[in-house]
Amino acid sequence: MITCLEFRRRVGAEPFTDDAEVAEHRQGCPVCARYQDELRAMDSLIQRALAVDPPAKAERVNAKGASRRRFFAIAASLVAGVAVGSILLVTAPRASVAREVMGHVTREAVESMARTAPLAPDAVAQVLGPDGMRLKPSAGIVTFAARCLFDGRVVPHLVVRTPEGPVTVLVLRHRSIGEPMHLDEQGYTGVVMPAPRGAIAVVGHDVADLDGVAKKVFDAVEFGG
């Protein structure tokens, strides 16, 4: 078994490590277990601290301004198609949480849906861990897991591959809703469901029986304290 010093060295670098030796030491050493819990809590705070609002564009005019404005013009033309789609989404008359969920899912779709390789369980745990949550394998195969900025908060964002198709899962612990809210737009369907703490959104594109898939995913989520 590793020593307390080695345990602390490892969890000090990776508080959410799934190292078997760390887990074994943790079982037999309550003091070190508390230390790891403390580090995990600190990491949650670090996560929130790092998620600054993207720094605003500096209001400056200088010699380099012209080339930068030119870049923005190019970039603006490049993103125009995407922007139009986003505006259409944003202006739709819908509850704000639904609008934000759809906006986030469509914006992130390129990166999140492109990944098809199953993620290692520790990668998923690292994303859900700061919120004290776990996802049981019965949900499906997780191919994308990240902590994303959503509505000013950092939230877990997963893509789960199910037999019915891939779905995006957003864990919104900071948003409370009274009853399930259904989304249906531009081929995307989804549902935002009340959870023991906050809400969980499940969104898919052309997914058969989205409600059934959403329930299966929801049932696979273990909510910590």
Binding site: G12, P15, D43, I46, R107, V110, A114
Partner: protein, 173 residues
């Protein structure tokens, strides 16, 4: 005709990446340089470089890591080009107070400033691990370091944060 469609598709794909990843790139550049104007410059130059070499990105699922690597190289380049002097941290804290502010949550504000005051050697891998979600192996690849060195820096980063926040000191690895 086909060539035109291909170019349009290329632009659309790049535009989508720009839009979705720009906030993260700006955050990363800001945590590297601790200066809003510098972060903006670095990200803009990085996007231009990325556009020029967009064809070298064969797997778009790796776009974020690819762009973050471009940003960190561009940051190093601009640091060298402008011969930026090592700044006074207190002055930086004052200058960047708008970004550091965390209204309504003093603990986040304290932690944010503590991270801000960390040496870049510790700050960068911490941002890549906790904010960007990369493994220590991936961070080692991005930073051109051994994984063991990354682990040491991450350990020390957290130890220093504990120290800066007045928590119980941790034994050095």
């Amino acid at each position: 005709m086909n060539r035109g469609n291909g170019e349009t598709d290329r632009r659309r794909r790049f535009g989508t990446l720009c839009e979705s990843l720009r906030p993260d790139l700006l955050r990363f550049a800001w945590w590297l340089g601790r200066d809003r104007a510098l972060a903006e410059d670095v990200v803009q130059e990085s996007m231009l470089r990325a556009w020029k070499s967009f064809d070298s990105l064969t797997d778009e699922s790796k776009a974020k890591a690819w762009l973050l690597t471009i940003v960190r190289r561009e940051f190093a380049r601009s640091f060298e080009k402008k011969r930026l002097e090592l700044p006074d941290v207190d002055a930086l804290v004052a200058a960047e107070s708008a970004v550091l502010a965390a209204p309504g949550d003093a603990r986040v504000g304290e932690m944010r400033e503590a991270i801000f005051r960390l040496d870049a050697d510790y700050r960068e891998p911490l941002v890549l691990q906790v904010l960007m979600g990369y493994s220590t192996k991936e961070i080692a690849g991005m930073m051109g370091m051994q994984q063991g060195a990354v682990l040491t820096r991450l350990f020390r980063a957290r130890a220093k944060l504990r120290q800066l926040l007045g928590l119980a000191p941790e034994a050095e690895a």
